[in-house]
């Protein structure tokens, strides 16, 4: 085997880390934008090899069916975002919002953030996972503040403070999990390795695990963007550069969710602990309905889609909270579809905001007339994210509802209510944005449409055809999650 000489996980992590170092040294922003694409592409290539070859698990790194899905999705969106970012920042340089000096910093941090997320996804050690999530969060904090406007700094500050609170609660939860494991697994690294914890889950102290999970749910839940801990999310999405919004919505929220799912698996494997489903269901439905109503009052286009991310994370957490093969399958699919669709929407919105020179919804009108490609991709994206057929989000939401109706019709009715409220808000806003008399500048835009088309095509195809191996894979993972 040619792969066995090379550990793809280490290669993947090293690529981003070397990428960060190299990009920090290159002053020319055109070159570094290309190198950024190259490094992200290499990470994607290594991620794909994980389908064929798994490096052995040790106390620090782990690859199994669950995290390969997350890693590949992470690498894919990371790669397409780097392509989008290259065309996006060209414009930011022209308008003087960013200077080449900041861009050098921006590209280095981009790779560092990808490194943090990939490390969090591959870590087998709950402490290492925490460190990695924290690294990814801190690097996005500085990215959010990069424009140095008052609003951007305020958003970054809020994100930093709320993120730190989340970090602290998650670490306390992690320490409690270790304490719960010490008597069963002994002191030291073994008690922090996730595979050991899962294997001996039934021997861990249940009352400590219960308390630990509450801390973990609140801590990592802050980063998932669940209401009422979501306050950082709309600001961070609206004020940072759009590629960062795409990565935040498409990836960072998933990484935090992944951390929660790992701990949920330990909880489910120990019969004496409290059921965690109801906690997740409550937070999920709460976020969904809250965000759905908040969508109506948004005036800023990026903030609108930030709330839509909260709504979707609510649906996903609800699905995983329900549990069982079908709901878990639906949750995974919903997560994948949301990542692809939401990043495509942010790609469109980024170019739209650039060409119109504003993020105010009221100042943007008639996009399909003035900028047909951007306008129609936005229409497609919003139709997809609102959960209309024939897109993949429809499929996954349909599955979430089917599984929910079978087991808890009342909860399913609440979800339907939330979905309808959000649906109305999105389509109402879309009407103004996309149709009617064009308002604002109508100059043509230099954009790279490739990432948008690629994402929308994937979501579109997933709406009526999913390859057999992928379905089998997702079913397997859904089974693992219990």
């Amino acid at each position: 085997m040619i792969f066995s000489a090379l550990n793809p996980v280490l290669a993947l992590l090293a690529t981003s880390l070397i990428g960060a170092a190299v990009l920090a040294l290159i002053p020319d922003y055109r070159l570094s934008a290309r190198l950024n694409i190259l490094f992200s592409g290499a990470v994607l290539a290594f991620a794909v090899t994980l389908f064929y070859y798994r490096p052995p698990t040790n106390n620090f790194l782990l690859t199994d069916d669950l995290n390969v899905v997350f890693i590949v999705l992470n690498a894919l969106v990371g790669f397409t975002t780097s392509i989008f970012s290259a065309s996006y920042i060209g414009h930011e340089i022209e308008t003087g919002r960013l200077t080449p000096g900041y861009l050098r910093f921006y590209h280095a941090i981009y790779q560092l953030m990808m490194f943090g997320m990939d490390l969090a996804l591959t870590a087998n050690n709950i402490g290492l996972m925490w460190v990695a999530v924290e690294l990814a969060t801190l690097s996005t904090v500085v990215m959010v503040g990069i424009y140095r406007t008052n609003d951007a700094l305020e958003a970054a500050w809020k994100y930093f403070i709320l993120g730190s609170v989340g970090i602290a609660l998650a670490l306390f939860g992690t320490i409690l999990v270790y304490l719960a494991a010490v008597s069963a697994l002994g002191e030291g690294m073994d008690s922090m390795a996730w595979t050991n914890l899962l294997h001996r889950a039934s021997r861990l102290d249940p009352s400590l695990l219960n308390v630990a999970f509450v801390f973990l749910l609140l801590g990592y839940g802050t980063k998932v963007g669940l209401a009422p801990m979501h306050a950082w999310l709309p600001d961070a999405h609206a004020e940072g550069p759009t590629p960062v919004s795409a990565v935040l919505s498409g990836l960072l929220l998933n990484v935090a969710l992944y951390a929660l799912l790992r701990f949920k698996m330990i909880m489910s494997a120990n019969a004496a602990t409290i059921p965690v489903g109801p906690l997740m269901i409550t937070l999920g439905i709460g976020s969904l309905i809250f965000a759905a109503f908040m969508l109506y009052r948004r005036r800023d286009i990026k903030r609108l889609f930030a709330y839509s991310s909260i709504e979707h994370m609510g649906i996903i957490v609800f699905a995983f909270g329900m549990g069982g093969p079908l709901a878990n399958f639906a949750g995974l699919l919903q997560m994948t579809m949301h990542s692809l669709t939401k990043s495509a929407i942010f790609f469109s919105v980024g170019h739209i905001a650039q060409v119109k020179g504003t993020q105010r919804i009221a100042d943007i009108r008639g996009l399909t007339a003035s900028h047909p490609v951007l306008g129609w991709t936005l229409v497609a994206g919003v139709v997809a994210i609102a959960g209309l057929p024939p897109f993949g989000v429809f499929m996954s939401e349909f599955l979430v509802l089917t599984s929910a109706f079978a087991r808890a019709p009342l909860l399913a009715a609440l979800v339907v209510f939330g979905l309808l409220v959000a649906f109305g808000a999105l389509l109402w806003r879309l009407g103004g944005l996309a149709f009617g008399e064009p308002r604002g500048p109508t100059t043509p835009v230099t954009a790279s449409y490739l990432p948008i088309f690629a994402h929308l095509a994937l979501v579109f195809v997933a709406g009526f055809y999913m390859p057999g191996p992928m379905v089998a894979w997702f079913q397997n993972v859904a089974g693992l999650l219990k």
Partner: protein, 221 residues
Amino acid sequence: MTQAFAFDVAHMFAGLLVLVSFMMLYQDRLLPLIDALTLHSLLLAFSVAWQAYVQDKPDLYVTAFIALAFKAIIIPMAFRRMVVRMNLHREIETAVGTGITMLIGIGLVALSMDLMLRVTAGANALVREDVALALAVVLLGLLMMVTRRNAISQVIGFMSLENGLILAGTGARGMPLVVEISVAFSVLIAFIVIGIFLFRIRERFDTVDLQALDNIREARR
């Protein structure tokens, strides 16, 4: 040395940390607040060193040293410079109302004691009380972060909270060093980030030139 004595000293340090957390809660001026942070970190360093001695884990001395060097010396010094340079030292903090904050704080300590002592019934006595007191320090840090408006005092709240986390980490027997060092480093990273931000914020809000630049940019938009 008897085991009871080892416990007593460990609990004394942890208890003192909670006490200093309360001192920080009612402190409404920045410079004394920074002094309280220094004291807090110093106590943490002693506490960690004592744990290193009691548990016979020499690697914990490193954590104690990091707490002493970074948190009790370098960071308070940097804060002090910042406060003096920005001319903030006469600034009076407006908290949510000291009396109410203190009452909530007492409630939080009672809550963490009750909760942690109940769920750690299986663990050994040294761990139990340390973790309970550590949670109290963490919650008091959180309380400070939410009741303060000033950025520097929010960061000080955050750092006292991190001290609580390290207390919990060292109290949990044999928790691998990886985590403690990373916590210490994360504080450092966080501090760098914060340092940059504080200066930028000051720059934006107070320097006339940059403000003017900003207005021009706003107008063009």
